[in-house]
Amino acid sequence: MISFKNVNKWYGELHVLNSIDLEVEKGEVIVVCGPSGSGKSTLIRCINRLEPIQKGELIVDGMKVHDKKTNMTKIRAEIGFIFQSFNLYPHMTALGNVTIAPMKVRNIPKKEAEKLGREKLTRVGLEDRIDHYPAQLSGGQQQRVAIARGLSMQPKIMLFDEPTSALDPEMIHEVLDVMRDLAKEGMTMMAVTHEMGFAREVASRVVFMDEGQIIEVAPPNDFFTKPQSERGKAFLKSILTH
Amino acid sequence: MWGFYFNELIRSLPFFLKGVWMTVAVAGLSLIFGTIIGFIAGIIRAGRNKPARIIIGAWVDLIRGTPFLVQIFVIFFILPGIGIELDAFPAAVIALTNLTASFITEIVAGGILAVPKGQREAATASGLSHYQQLRFIVLPQAIRSILPPLVGQYVLLVKDSSVVSAIGVVDITRVGWLTVQRIPEGLMVFGLVGLLYFAICYPLINLSGFLERRMTVVSTKL
């Protein structure tokens, strides 16, 4: 589904992604973790070309993302992207946020799009907030609207960039619950997150990154109990002892 | 034909330069007087004297709510009725000074009110008088937010000065108007007029932008 072959990216002199090789199969749930600055956010932002790569091949759903000539609209329609800071459109209701892309990118007629939108909002537990504006919603609710917004395009892949990092602790679980359900239903997902409980429960594999490189890839139980790399061990120690 | 007009235009350049001098004179004098009056009025407007604040506020509203052209006509045509005979040039300077002062009043008042209240509270607590607070604490900080819009106002002043041509002051615009009667190539003549104003205003606009960036950097360093 997603294939990184020797992907490299630089910001000026800084080598933010270094020789990345990774294959993600359909239905897999990949959790990407690592210290800050490791390039994990950059990694998933490259998948829908929010960030371009300079070297290597990145193939998503059979289409070449690294090729400048590729029309990204089609690819982006198949990928739902959830941001750390939600990025909901403040001038539209929850329903508005969720239906704009299906109507304008997939050209679904308004009635149908709204039906679909209501369905997705109900799915994330917000059926009574459909006509609310983002400013009237809590952080956890906003992020769930963002997830419904991603799902309304009926994508093949869902990407999450630190979805719970900006939330107050008591709201984290409501978002993770939705993500967990999605994983159990077989959605192909890649999530950058520090929520290790979530990783242990639903991840097929954990990708540990540091300084732009993939250091270790292993099933969650293996990684959390028996990390192979020195840096992996150090990282786990630092997050478990704070 | 076009070539002939172009030559005539070149020969009119000294006349245009006189116009530039006139524009600079009218704008310059108004700038000086307007700034002085504007600062004083602005300080009062941001002060404690409520009646004074209301009166100045009403004056500012009056000036902002009416076109400058009408204001010039009022000053030039009506003042003689109450005994003040004015030539075009002094009337122009008075009107432009009045206009500029009213806008600067708001800029200065806004800058003063933007200084955090805590500053004045600290100054009062340490025993400084109202005047001392203003002089040593409030104004130095207010200047930072006053300077960029102030320079912006000077650009507006130069542009508004073109309106005084309506009462016969021979500034750049009036020179253009007089010239185009002889040289009926409106594009060329007013193209030159535009260029002359551009030469004055464009650097000032950039100065205002530059100041805005400088001022923000300085305050974050604090």
Binding site: Y89, P90, R149 | F73, S161, V163, L187, V193
Partner: protein, 222 residues
């Protein structure tokens, strides 16, 4: 003069004033509409990927901002005929007002767009919306909502600027004052009445600005 303030003359000229009041409203309104359209287009050009479009918009905006409206008005009034284009004065006036305010609207909208959190634009990109779709549904609605106050401020300026149209013989409010003054030698009655009408428009627009800010109050998430 003040004792002899002749209300009877004003009453006599009231039909003329009313007609000219409507003319001012109509000319300003038309130009306002045109200016917002021009402003949106110029702003979109200014922010586009194409260097050529950016350049054209940039030249347009900087030329307008660095030159006085009166010079621009005369440029069209004298320049268009010299190119063989003969237009009724009011059309020339509307063109000048539209192009002038259009440049300022472009800048206002641009600052409104800059104030939008970039993350939402990324969300738009990520869901596959094109540049135009992002502009139309996400960016412009918010930019226009953010900038209601400066937009209405520019509208007030435009109404005042329309007074300059009197100098190219268009019958609007200021010209009404000139007519009364020249026919009856009563500049006070003439221009103060004109000023009063402008003040009516000014206060109406100010009230509208306050009302619309409350209604369309821009809801920011968080």
């Amino acid at each position: 003069m003040l004792e002899g303030f002749n209300f009877r003359i004003i009453l006599e000229y009231m039909p003329l004033y009313m007609q000219c009041f409507l003319a001012t409203l109509w000319l300003s309104g038309l130009s306002l509409f045109g200016a917002v359209v021009v402003g949106i287009i110029a702003c979109a050009m200014r922010l586009s990927q194409s260097r050529i479009l950016r350049g054209i918009a940039g030249v347009y905006i900087e030329s307008i901002r660095s030159t006085p409206l009166l010079a621009q008005l005369y440029f069209f009034y004298f320049g268009l005929p010299s190119m063989g284009i003969m237009l009724p004065e009011w059309v020339t006036g509307v063109i000048a007002l539209t192009l002038n305010s259009g440049a300022y609207y472009a800048e206002i909208i641009r600052s409104g767009i800059k104030a939008i959190d970039f993350g939402q634009i990324e969300a738009g990109i990520a869901s596959g919306l094109s540049y135009f779709q992002r502009m139309r549904y996400i960016i412009l609605p918010q930019a226009l909502g953010n900038t209601i106050r400066p937009m209405l401020g520019q509208a007030i300026i435009l109404v005042k600027d329309s007074s300059l149209l009197s100098l190219i013989s268009i019958m609007e409010l200021t010209r009404a004052g000139q007519v009364l003054t020249s026919e009856r030698f009563t500049p006070a009655e003439g221009f103060l009445t004109t000023a009063a009408f402008y003040l009516i428009i000014y206060y109406m627009l100010k009230a509208f600005s306050g009302w619309s800010e409350k209604r369309l109050i821009f809801r920011e998430a968080h």
